[in-house]
Symmetry: C2
């Protein structure tokens, strides 16, 4: 299951992609707009900078911007940076010694097949593909929602049954 880390990261990327022409966008803006704790976003965004997804600029007028064009970001790269390797089972992780059971393991072919499918899916999708889905911002602000309401899963709110 993709955690808030990965989901928020993708939303930050979308925010920055929409802001491409306007230079840097501050974290305060992004956090308020998305209804996410700014402090928590700082942690996420730090990893995104060190991972080479975005570029930060300090001081007044600073903020964040994309490091590449939206077409150049496979979604899988964003997810793997935030969530770790996109593999279904530990024995398929990179750099792990081949499992001694591999030779006769009945389940390995299934995991490999699923792994391939997942990898193809998330590396086939690009950030630019997600921008196509977007509706106008007016529609959404006109609805009169507070920032808090437009969250979608701090996961806490929904998990009590």
């Amino acid at each position: 299951m993709i955690s808030t880390k990965g989901r928020y990261a993708i939303r930050v990327m979308i925010s920055l992609a929409e802001n491409m022409d306007n230079g840097y966008k501050t974290l305060r803006e992004i956090a308020e707009r998305q209804g996410i704790s700014k402090k928590y976003l700082e942690i996420i965004v730090r990893d995104m900078v060190s991972g080479g997804l975005i570029v930060g600029s300090r001081g007044k007028g600073g903020g964040y911007r994309l490091a590449r064009q939206p077409e150049e970001y496979p979604i899988g790269e964003i997810i793997e940076l935030m969530e770790g390797p996109l593999v279904p089972v530990a024995c398929l992780e990179e750099g792990v010694a081949t499992c001694p059971r591999a030779m006769y393991c009945e389940t390995l072919p299934m995991w490999e097949e699923y792994n391939q499918m997942t990898h193809d899916f998330f590396y086939g999708k690009r950030l630019s593909d997600l921008l196509q889905n977007k509706k106008t911002d007016e529609r959404h602000e006109a609805a009169g929602m507070t920032e808090k309401e437009e969250n979608c899963g701090a996961a806490r709110e929904a998990s009590d049954e």
Copy 2:
């Protein structure tokens, strides 16, 4: 990522499927054969009984057996019983109120597409499909491995780096 709970459960199912004609198989046999802690397996197997996957019988001569034919078990059912819902994001969970962002969420279509793909994959595969992959047990016992070696991921051994 599928945890040991789900992976061990599938291996137990395979063990029991291979034992179909011999009545009940004890947990001790399964645990020793697979090199898994019997005590830990008890927890897993309890959920499998209450989930209707297998049937237990107490007392001498008891053990566990499948509740249905191997063709009647979608792998997805086993995984979801042990790991919880097979959805990539919280907002797609059953019984969760529709996310207020759903209308204009740029990422939801992607998650829905992936969710559908995953569901189809794991509910298309059956326990009987995994049995086809099996090689003879002789090959594996003749290799002179101890039970400990044939584990494949208590996840501890590989996760240090």
